[in-house]
Amino acid sequence: MSGRRSRVSRWQIYVPLALYLLFTLVPFYWMLVFAFRPAGSTAVFPWPVTFEHFATVWNGMGFAVFFRNSLMVGVASLITTTVVALAGGYALARYAFRGKGAFMVGMLCTQFIPGALMIIPLFEIFRTLGLTNSLWSLVVAETVFQLPLSLILISGFIRNIPYELEQAAWVDGCSRLRGFLAIVLPLLRPALVAVGSFAFIHSWNNFLFALMFINDQEKFTVPVGLAYNLGENSVDFGALAAGGVVAALPVVVVFAFIQRYLVQGMSAGAVKG
């Protein structure tokens, strides 16, 4: 009886999961087929395999440069977002100060403002700072937009670490900073992975900021390069799919390495708000 029940429950789990996977993976399969099969082919499988579309996007369309730019912006955004969120999150978790509740609500409210609405004000600020046409403008904008959620996540995670651990370190002669580095930071690894990966992926995928703040062909990023394949009167599906594979690869690799930390970090940070 219990065996039958467990068989039924397995079906109930695997059938919806399989359907969900099908919906998720079909677009990826479509992308791989178009990326690897020759132009003009209508084959359902990517055979014979060709790399001509990858050569087109990598060498002909400048994806080598776009990829390098995206990587630099992604890594820099990851670092700045994580460092600032770590410091701010610690302050929110461990210090009581006037207006803390309002500050948290204010940060949440910033999530309701779409990035497109901020383009012109940000453009003017960056122009005043001499940052337009610089990859730094993307790093700063990404960090600012990522910070509210990152702060909330990290502060929630720090609140879950017993304060007594830090106090014990102080009793043993550690300063607050040393206690934080020696005791708290190692326990924050899942949260840092979650925040860092979100910052990297968001910055990697951001199209609007890269298009609006950059006016130099050598400084555009991968999402802008992808958009080149959708012309007014021309769509190169092979190049579009090959560009999609190039764009998706780092994100897939990042997720493959961090997924166990990611789930841990998200759930732990969400226990206490």
């Binding site: 132009a39 003009g40 209508t42 087109t56 002909g60 369309m61 730019n69 630099m72 912006v73 890594v75 820099a76 670092i79 383009i119 012109i120 453009f123 003017e124 122009r127 940052l131 337009t132 046409n133 610089s134 990859l135 730094w136 790093v139 298009l211 609006m212 006016n215 130099d216 062909q217 050598e218 400084k219 802008v224 958009a227 080149y228 394949n229 959708l230 012309g231 007014e232 009167n233 021309s234 769509v235 190169d236 599906f237 190049a239």
Partner: protein, 431 residues
Amino acid sequence: MRRHGPMAAVVLAAAVLAGCGSDAGSGGKTEITFWDTNAGPARTPVWQHAIAEFEKANPTIKVNYVGVPIAQSAQKIDTAIAGGGVPDVADVSTSGLANLVAQKALEPVDERIARNPALNGKFNEALLTTVKNVVPDGKMYIYPTSTNAGAFWYRKDWFKDAGLEPPKTWSEFFATVDKLTKPGENRFGFTIRGGSGSIAQMLEVVYGQSGVTEFFDAAGKATLNDPRNVTALEKYAGLYKKNTPEGDLQNDYVKMVAQFDTAGSIAIMQHNLGSYQDHMKALGPGKVASFSVPRSDSGTQSVLSNPVGGVGVFSAGENKEAAFKLAEFFASKDMDGYISKETGVIPANTDVTDKMPDHIVEAQRVLNDPATKVVQMPYHLPEFNEITKTWAEPQFQKVLLGQLSAKDFLDQFAAKLTEAQAGYKQRNGGS
């Protein structure tokens, strides 16, 4: 060593980003920027070659090419105008010209053209009229370089197998579409554009069939709901599901071209000259060719005016003389011929003698035929884009689905455009 990893990463990223933010300098040359507002693998190399030729002819000027994807080009230019940082020169079509002129972003070029013997009197008159018509002061704000034309791309091999010739009249067109529709073989005679961009193609078929030659009558009333247009729309919408796939309701250019080029299920696809490269790459010259908009059964050849492409010089640019030089170079006989040939459009410069491909020669023949009536589309109306995109496209889908009659749709459409035209006349002193 491992403990220094994060710090090393910060320093490295900062150093590289800082390096990328600096100007390389141009060795004392005048530096200007050109924005290609429809960048992509097909057009970017063409503009870059033209720029290289310009730099060879003008060694003291360096041109920085910036490619902007077409879907976001208007937003990027508007942001640059509002926040600063416009280019010196950009390719600008008449479909976006009124918006730029309203923001005083572009320099007029009439006097420059008049003073330049290589350009004065060298542009196609019909295109000059279109360029001047879209702005209230009737001035030229771009150097015209090209125009497009409606084209019906068809499967040459299927026509041959069926013993059919490209249709010359609309009656022949509908009969041909019927003959080529074989649902059992997943073949459809036509693909209708029901999604984004549907209205221009719908209007081309409607005015082409009806033979009505003006968009507004003398009193400023839109002719859209003329009974001949209503009948024409009923016939066009009647193709949906009978001779087209059901999914055409959401057809934009990408889906339409995917069905025609990749899926191989469509016999005739209505678009324009611009999709030539896509068809050739996917199907090859042996399988695809084009015919022009058929004549009405009364014998009139009515075609819609297409947006005119050109290059504009921005008022806020710092190196205007160099910018004008570049724009005039692009509009000159040799470069206009090269760019038009490579991008598959009709050159605006009438001195161009380059041998054009067959589909362009045919489009030029129709455009230059004195018997052809060009219906001037109301690109001058700032509301036109919003009315067609936001209001008319969903309503047209209702017509295809049979939820709205062709007459009611065209009545409402005409009323909106008549009102917009009256407002335009009032704002511009009745001109």
